[in-house]
Amino acid sequence: MRSFAIFVILCSAGSLTQLRAQISVQGGNPLMSVTTGTAGAQPVSVTNAATSLRWRKQNVITKITVSTSCPGQRFTLTVLATNLTYGVAAPQVTLFNGMPATNFVLNIPTGNPVHKTCTLQYTASATFAQGNSAELGNDVHAITYTLVAQ
């Protein structure tokens, strides 16, 4: 029975290591600042494309989903996959706290190269009515990308 328990632990540990290695975000944690606005219109949105997503090929057609956790969210953040050479980018996704996993990249083929990438293009926007961070605090999104079979 002891060897069985060790076997289960090894299987689980192996699976977790493998899950972590299959997909990762490159380029760190962006800070996006909305700083200007137009009278009679709205603050000017800002875009950040400094980070990217890297994942391994699988033996079946896969897709990538995105979700976020941002308690007390005040402002608007969207993400779009660009510079995608394998698979099809889903339409721009609006990220909101507690959202279900939403399609981000679809129809990722099984063939080489082993590692595939895309640029993460974030757009941050706010309305005047939504206020400012000095009064309300920043929005901090913990964003998760998941590689799943399609």
Binding site: C11, L31, V34, P43, A126, Q130, G131, N138, H141, T144
Partner: protein
């Protein structure tokens, strides 16, 4: 008996091992991995205010004269004020650069899309309330200028540089 127990334990072990392998295989078929990072979004204090077109000319001429009355007046509402502020509890105040005007110039905010218009103000170098309660909004209003001259004041020109300011209320 001992042999029988050994066979039972062996069967349990094999069945459990197969179950783990099957479950593991199923998980791989569904989710291959996760990755993520943190994105922080910051919005600065933003305040913007502007007037739609440039100069306003108020010309009091014989057409504005009413026989028997000393006071003559003319109005203009060809310009609008636009603003945007993402701070709470804000108002718009107005002032003029002309310290000693010969004639009287008054201003009223008409039909504000957000907030409340203050009563008509006579422009001076001191900031006076034009609009109240506009906090965290993007809006506009029509600027209604009224130029007033008395016949006894004679002729001349007053040139005002008017400043609109979004301020804490």
């Amino acid at each position: 008996m001992k042999n029988h127990l050994h066979i039972v334990v062996n069967r349990v072990w094999k069945t459990a091992a197969m179950a783990v392998l099957l479950m593991n295989g199923t998980a791989r078929a569904q989710v291959y991995g996760t990755g993520g990072h943190t994105v922080t979004m910051q919005v600065s204090v933003i305040t913007s205010v502007r007037v739609t077109v440039g100069s306003v000319n108020l010309n009091i001429s014989s057409a504005n004269v009413v026989a028997g009355q000393n006071q003559m007046s003319v109005t203009d509402q060809s310009t609008s004020l636009l603003w945007g502020t993402n701070s709470s509890l804000r108002k718009v105040s107005v002032s003029t650069s002309l310290a000693a005007p010969k004639f009287t110039l008054k201003l009223l905010a008409l039909n504000p899309t957000v907030g409340n218009a203050a009563p008509q103000v006579t422009l001076s170098t001191s900031a006076q309330d034009l609009l109240l309660n506009i906090g965290r909004s993007s809006g506009s209003c029509t600027l209604l200028y009224t130029g007033i001259a008395l016949a006894s004041q004679g002729t001349g020109n007053d040139v005002h540089v008017i400043t609109f300011t979004v301020a804490a209320q």
